[in-house]
């Protein structure tokens, strides 16, 4: 017999979700309040840009490259019956720039960086390093959360562009090597797609606006959730493990849900 959750259980779950959302919003407000970060802020930001941005390049590069290669193969299967294999570039450009580049970068960075942030902050919490920071006159939100959030918000859009470029390059490679699409035709189709989707303010390609706004929001989401779970870690090393898992799962799910609503919004606005 299937046991349905009781109304009390559902109520408790909703309460927990609302309280967590409230705490994350409070952390967001506290982070905004300590902007731009005071003494040593630039140094801390640079260190995080390296940890979050530069060191994520290989993983994002590989993800983008192989996603683009797979997209080219799948697109050719769909387009071949109509004799439209030459348009593979358009299919890949639209998919990578608007969706896959931003979402894959967001999720890959949430996995690599989100886990790292939650584990680091969680370990600091359970070993009293956060208390030590406070006793030495430093606020954890200022020295730990703010540089990570700023770095993620700045780095993820750039990583998404790298994923886009790698995806297009991978698709171009597969198209010319296996699908008989000349490189010139592939890139021509890709550029046509970007032009056809229009420009914002007559200057910035609409696809690129989507491809940059989304990862900016994803960067904020994954870093804030990772910091939130790390700062709340309790119960020794086991608690750090739980915080890490929660950070990655909640960030990945939130990115996917936010992507839907952002897409709807951006389709109207851009």
């Amino acid at each position: 017999m299937v046991m349905l959750p009781s109304s009390a259980h559902v109520r408790r779950l909703i309460q927990t979700a609302v309280l967590s959302l409230q705490d994350v919003l409070l952390l967001t407000w506290q982070t905004l309040r300590v902007f731009p970060g005071g003494r040593g802020g630039a140094h801390r930001l640079l260190a995080q840009l390296d940890a979050i941005g530069v060191r994520s390049v290989p993983i994002v590069l590989l993800t983008g490259l192989f996603t683009g290669m797979v997209l080219a193969l799948q697109a050719s299967v769909q387009l071949a019956p109509f004799g439209a294999t030459l348009f593979v570039g358009r299919f890949v450009a639209a998919s990578m720039l608007r969706e896959l580049g931003p979402v894959l970068s967001g999720i890959m960075v949430a996995g690599r960086v989100g886990a790292g942030i939650a584990a680091e902050l969680g370990a600091m919490k359970v070993t009293e390093q956060l208390d030590a920071l406070q006793t030495l006159g430093a606020e954890p939100v200022r020295v730990l959360v703010l540089p990570r959030v700023l770095a993620a918000a700045a780095a993820v859009p750039i990583l998404a562009l790298i994923a886009d470029a790698a995806g297009l390059a991978g698709a171009a490679l597969v198209s010319s090597a296996y699908l008989g699409v000349p490189l010139r035709a592939f890139w021509g189709a890709a550029v046509d797609q970007i032009i056809l989707d229009g420009f914002v303010a007559g200057l910035i390609p609409a696809d690129l606006v989507q491809g940059l706004v989304k990862p900016f929001v994803f960067g904020l989401i994954l870093s804030l959730l990772a910091c939130y779970h790390g700062l709340r870690a309790t119960g020794g090393t086991a608690g750090v493990g739980v915080a890490t898992t929660r950070a990655v799962v909640s960030a990945s799910i939130t990115i996917l849900i936010t992507d839907y609503f952002l897409t709807q919004l951006l389709l109207v606005l851009v």
Binding site: R39, G40, E120, A123, M124, T127, E128, Q129, D131, A132, L133, Q134, T135, L136, G137, A138, E139
Partner: protein
């Protein structure tokens, strides 16, 4: 039972805990009062879970009391704004049980952290102070400054933790189990170091420890907590002579 009121002149006190109570799932501290005079060393001893560390967290404003008042250097720790609390904490040094050194920073950066946050000293003066403080805790600055905490032994980590706490030359020094987890020899070395720091820096100290023998040696007064309340608070000699049964049992077990 020995009277709990230490009869310290309140105007000249560094720490004032007045009828403080704290409860988490159960009562942790029950109507505790403690007044610490300048340059005095007060040791708080007791079994695990009797609220010893909570007393220190109260003094740092890391834990608000459910009832009662906590004043440090005359300031109500829970009634002042964020900036004032930050300024107050800058005058208080804390030595954590596990040292709580920042793993990603070198020994030098750990000891310099509070000095750099305060932003009073130039970088050259910070460097001088860090080297001087490391030497004060019997560590060779030239050898250890660029080492990461993970590469240090337990005793060395503890000494770096003490150096980090005393580097800004605080008016009040709080120790949370400074000898916990150390072998007897290292434990004795750390206790000697604490005694020497008191002598050389004349800093007011509150030490939470389970090491009653060491505390009887270095403290001006010893407080024994049981179930969140003092059963004894007085001079070491008075403690040794106390007829209070729990105090006698605690000393006998040490």
């Amino acid at each position: 039972m020995t009277p709990v009121n230490p009869m310290v002149d309140r105007v000249a006190t560094v720490v004032d805990l007045d009828h403080v109570s704290v409860a988490f799932q159960r009562p942790v501290l029950r109507d505790v009062s403690l007044h610490v005079a300048p340059a005095e060393t007060v040791a708080i001893v007791g079994e695990s879970g009797t609220g010893k560390s909570t007393l220190l967290r109260l003094m740092l404003g890391l834990q608000p009391p459910d009832r009662g008042a906590v004043r440090v250097m005359g300031a109500d720790v829970n009634g002042i704004d964020r900036e004032s609390l930050r300024a107050l904490r800058a005058k208080v040094g804390m030595v954590f049980q596990g040292a709580a050194l920042f793993d990603s920073l070198t020994v030098f950066e750990n000891v310099a952290f509070g000095l750099r946050e305060a932003g009073v000293l130039s970088e050259e003066a910070v460097r001088e102070r860090v080297f001087e403080t490391l030497a004060l805790v019997d560590l060779d600055p030239a050898q250890i400054a660029q080492t990461l905490p993970a590469q240090l032994s337990g005793g060395m980590r503890k000494r770096v933790g003490i150096a980090r706490a005393v580097a800004p030359r605080p008016a009040l020094l709080l120790y949370d189990e400074p000898t916990a987890g150390l072998d007897p020899l290292t434990s004795a070395t750390v206790t000697d170091l604490m005694e020497r720091l008191q002598r050389e820096l004349h800093v007011t100290s509150v030490v939470v420890s389970h090491d009653i023998r060491a505390m009887l040696r270095i403290a001006d007064r010893v407080g024994l907590l049981r179930d969140g309340a003092f059963v004894f608070l007085g001079a070491p000699e008075a403690m040794r002579a106390s007829a209070e049964p729990y105090t006698q049992a605690f000393l006998a077990a040490a």
